[in-house]
Symmetry: D2
Subunit: 380 residues, 4 copies
């Protein structure tokens, strides 16, 4: 693991999730740019002293040549370092699991896509690990709604409704600092989640955006709220609303997908259920562990129904997928389809293409702006 | 009443609501353009035969000169006739209560505003009669949220997810026919509700829109779904989503207003409650008839708390307001402030200015487009 | 109408509900035991002075002999007078609609059952007018759940968590005064509603109770909370919890019926929806006006789906039924089955049998106690 | 760990929860009565072969004398073996964490209480690990509701609505077999949870019960549904409803506690929130990680607010407490009060006293029956 030392937020989620299904062990790390914290964290988690690295470059170099070297690295540092770290571990022959956003520019992201060809590279859009999110995707793929017409997604936070970055809050500081977070604030931070979720579930591909970015808190250096109109390649329309100044919200993540026959509605606040509403028959409420679920939802479930699962379990599902992908890759076999729905480096790069288009649209006073499409370009 | 004969949808709501508080009686009507239906409806409701008019022009002329002539007329015809009918009754000295949208063009609406000066002219944006909508307005006016920063409003219907207008459905036919509904479909039909609600509660004034209109059902002649970005004169931002092809939704009306300290959340699906969420203290759920309500919410309530009220009661609240307004007007006195929150002809004209700006923005590929502002023009 | 003068609570609901569907007009009344209030109320509602009676005895006598005498009387006085009033109007040949509880003793109730044979006598257990309550009954009658095994019903209020009766609250005073309310407090007041609802929906017949009555507020003269175990004649079991000291509740009315295959869940707080959960397929949420409803639910609906209805509309449904019953009775024809689900004097008497059994069980330290069963006795 | 081999249900929860906070490692086990499964499970979890015991007696004996012997054992076998296993490990000087119900008779439970004096003995009533359950307890302890008057608790499952035990379902078989589960079915299995939760949160002590037990599924050998009236020593009243034949329910666990000023409402289905309703001010909804929480709720939380936690995290909280208790015990110091709210052997014995009283009451046709009270007896 690179980053994620003691006291960190997301690193702890990764540590717990990775070992949930006994498929990973944490055996090496460059856990902090602060050497004391790096060493103390390693000791606390029983990492052998010789694998407690002060520097990720040294870690990549050393682990690459050990007989018992790590199979995969988890990258949970601030955004600006993602590209360099991921690139180095890839080059060292080590598989990569990286936090979102994948990078701070589209070019960096594309470089990683190219470097990762033929490799396993997971990106932790963690929300796609929820069983009922997978159920949503399975239902749409099965045609339950008919053709998709509209997508509404919102991802809001309230914690930055006040300028915490001016009072020393560490998380707030780096996330609102263009030098560390990149040129985009909330769009890169959580808008990428929202769009990945929308594409993951709907099966659609985003074509163009018209964006209105705001810096609502005076003095803020990146956008902290964004209203974005969406057009998909299929002709479907949508809206994405992302904000970190939604005072009174803890985490507001909701996706609705409307098709010809009905719609799906999922909110993280009730993550264990999925509402499927129809024009011509009663609404169905599907619940994790309950009757009527797809194989994909069942596979992503960790306990019998009626007992709530949460974010740790969603991440654990991704890690289970990553483990299967790495094992299949090493064995030269095809991955079990039930474990193939994890976000990849291409998904990470899609997020950066979204951020890029949003920034360009906003700069053009909200004009409709197409996403750069690496796959299309390469086909051309 | 003009329009609203037997079998009609909204006319029945008006009839029941008007007499809820014993402040109106239905004594005259031109209840249908179909003379048989007009006559039968009048008979069913015990309207005297000499006041059961075949034609609204005749009604306006006759009622204006009767000693016991009506004090106010209710206009519940399709949109295209609103302007002519309202104008004639105004000119005949009779107060007017008109369904939304007020007209089919901004010019018609402005003509009614000018003609109604010094008169009582109510527009039935019925949702503003809900006690908890009034509570929301009262809370924001009292500064509970601090300055308003963001407004999210959505009003969706699913009933036109299929092309009902092609199979003889009467309501679907006129609402999707530009000749009867006007140049706008869903924006005029329910978008006007959404924007009135947003302005009514937030206390903000909408400045400009960037709109993406869609005709999702093939062959439809008006837009049936609209994604609209909002900018308010205060600098606040927002989104309005209106659709009548939201399959699986019956009526989806929800308003959220975010301020510096927290936000308000109201949905018609749980009309008797209002959620007020704060950054620094637990969320409060206020309920109709419960503790902690404003005088405005209490005044709009019809029964003790815990027993649900619905749309009839919301309309009844507007009618109670209209009755007070007419009585105060006739008596030459100022209206009780608790009865002054009803939608007026100016609010109706604001709706038309919104429709007009949305149509222009969409024609300009979603460019930001200001609303025509009658009050500002007149001040200039 | 007897009782229900201005300022009264339930009388207003009856007045509005009775005319909702234009089937009743209020033309005569003994509206208050206070002659000034009786006269003023009558004047306010345009009752002719000669039909504004100071006394219900005079009213029954006079209306019985008028050519245009009332067809039916509504009785909304405190409980202790129900029997005498209902009996007198029945004897005068006038149909009766009476508030619950029907009487203050089982004997009184049985007397009314006998006196009402061959007549129309409605009791306003108003909650059975909700469309989704009728849907619940229809589903169970259709066998959707299989055999019913368990019934859970609760009806709670919080308003008497404090001894309001000691500070002059009029409603609190008579409802906690054995001389006016009868020997039972909350069980008679709202427990009768709960049990009627349970029997109405489940189709079961209550056989015996084991009751624990409490006088939670010190000094209270009737029980203000009751925990009651239920056994039905079919062998099904259940629990009824009724309380008027449930601080923080406005009105908490919920019914759940469990069968072999699944269960139904209805709460007045979300009166427009009904949850039907199954062991083997996803939960369905049926909504008023939505797809998949029975004819009985549709008949009880007053407006298109998605717009909330409330308690006034539920009462209006009962009044529509009463009107049909009276019309059918007068015409000597069978009532339309869709209008036949209104509560009758027998249902009112069932409520009194329940109160009677509960009081006896509690007096016997909670021993299982059978309800007196008039029908069974008469068959024997 | 004793029991909990691969494929088991609750053992997996314990394994994951125990290491959540890096306070426990699984180093020895007698994981199954099936020796192959025991060995394979141990291998899968990297337990050294010499500590993979075929028999728990051997395990207790061997671990007691190892220098690196286990500090604590987790007992997750069927109920009938709990007593013997716990007793043996206690006697071997090893601390014990045991699944509920603690035993199959009150006498067994009391024996463990006596044997565990001066030791750490945790019982995994896992629901008390939820942060919002702890918040509920903290609020009541702080007097937010005033004196507690009523407690309503229900714990229902639907999985045994059909006689699964007749078709080879392993869990169903032992849970409905008096020889393995003990003389009580659903009351011992989940009623003990319900009562512990009720006492834990309310701070009350249950005094007596009046029970109606049912064997709803024909041929079942233990009660599968129970309606139980409660009286607490303070005079408060309540109801417990427990059932495993509630078809259509996955897990229905809800607790409501009513005091003089308001009530608390918590459901596992929305485990991350707690509703606190008042007679005189708006309802508050407290959420895990949100504003306004007690130190006890904060301590039990594993991640920032807005991200759901579930049952694994609730168990992890108990394990964190157990770890602190063991560490404090070994160090001879007092435990941090924030870690002292875990269920103990006394709580386990309370559960057995409840089961015992329920069985006696039911045998006496529902007569009020007092719980045996070990503490009171010993004081006497």
């Amino acid at each position: 693991m690179v980053g994620g030392g003691q006291g960190g937020f997301i690193g702890r989620v990764h540590r717990i999730a990775a070992r949930f299904d006994d498929r990973f062990a944490l055996v090496a790390g460059a856990l902090s740019s602060n050497p004391v914290r790096a060493r103390d964290s390693a000791a606390a988690w029983e990492i052998a002293p010789d694998r407690a690295y002060a520097d990720w470059r040294a870690m990549a170099a050393a682990e690459a040549v050990r007989g018992d070297g790590i199979e995969a690295v988890v990258v949970v540092t601030p955004n600006e370092s993602h590209h360099a770290i991921c690139r180095m571990f890839l080059d060292a022959g080590i598989e990569v699991i990286c936090e979102k956003p994948l990078a701070t520019s589209l070019e960096q992201a594309r470089d990683l896509v190219r470097a990762a060809r033929g490799r396993v590279f997971g990106v932790t859009y963690g929300y796609t690990g929820y069983p009922m999110v997978r159920e949503a995707r399975a239902q749409i793929a099965a045609g339950v709604l008919g053709a998709v017409r509209m997508v509404q997604v919102e991802f809001t936070l309230g914690w930055l409704a006040h300028p915490l970055e001016t009072s020393g809050n560490k998380q707030a500081s780096w996330r609102t600092d263009p030098a560390r977070a990149g040129p985009s604030g909330v769009v890169a931070d959580i808008g990428t989640h929202a769009i990945h979720l929308a594409e993951f579930v709907s099966g659609l591909r985003l074509h163009a955006v018209a964006a209105d970015l705001a810096r609502i808190v005076p003095g803020r250096r990146v956008e902290d709220s964004a209203n974005i109109l969406l057009r998909f390649t299929s002709g479907a329309r949508g809206i994405a609303w992302v904000s970190m100044v939604a005072a009174g919200v803890d985490v507001g993540l909701r996706l609705r997908v409307f098709g010809e026959r009905g719609h799906l509605d999922w909110s993280q606040a009730s993550a264990n259920e999925l509402k499927v509403a129809f024009a011509d028959e009663p609404t169905r409420v599907l619940v994790r562990g309950g009757p009527g679920l797809s194989a994909e939802a069942k596979r992503a479930s960790h306990i019998v129904g009626g007992l709530p699962e949460g974010i740790f379990e969603a991440f654990a599902t991704l890690y289970h997928d990553f483990a299967e992908a790495i094992a299949a890759h090493r064995a030269g076999r095809t991955i079990d389809p039930l474990h193939s729905w994890y976000p990849t480096v291409e998904d990470g790069a899609r997020g950066m293409a979204f951020v890029d288009a949003v920034l360009r649209s906003d700069a053009a006073d909200g004009a409709w702006t197409e996403l750069a499409d690496m796959e299309r370009e390469e086909r051309a």
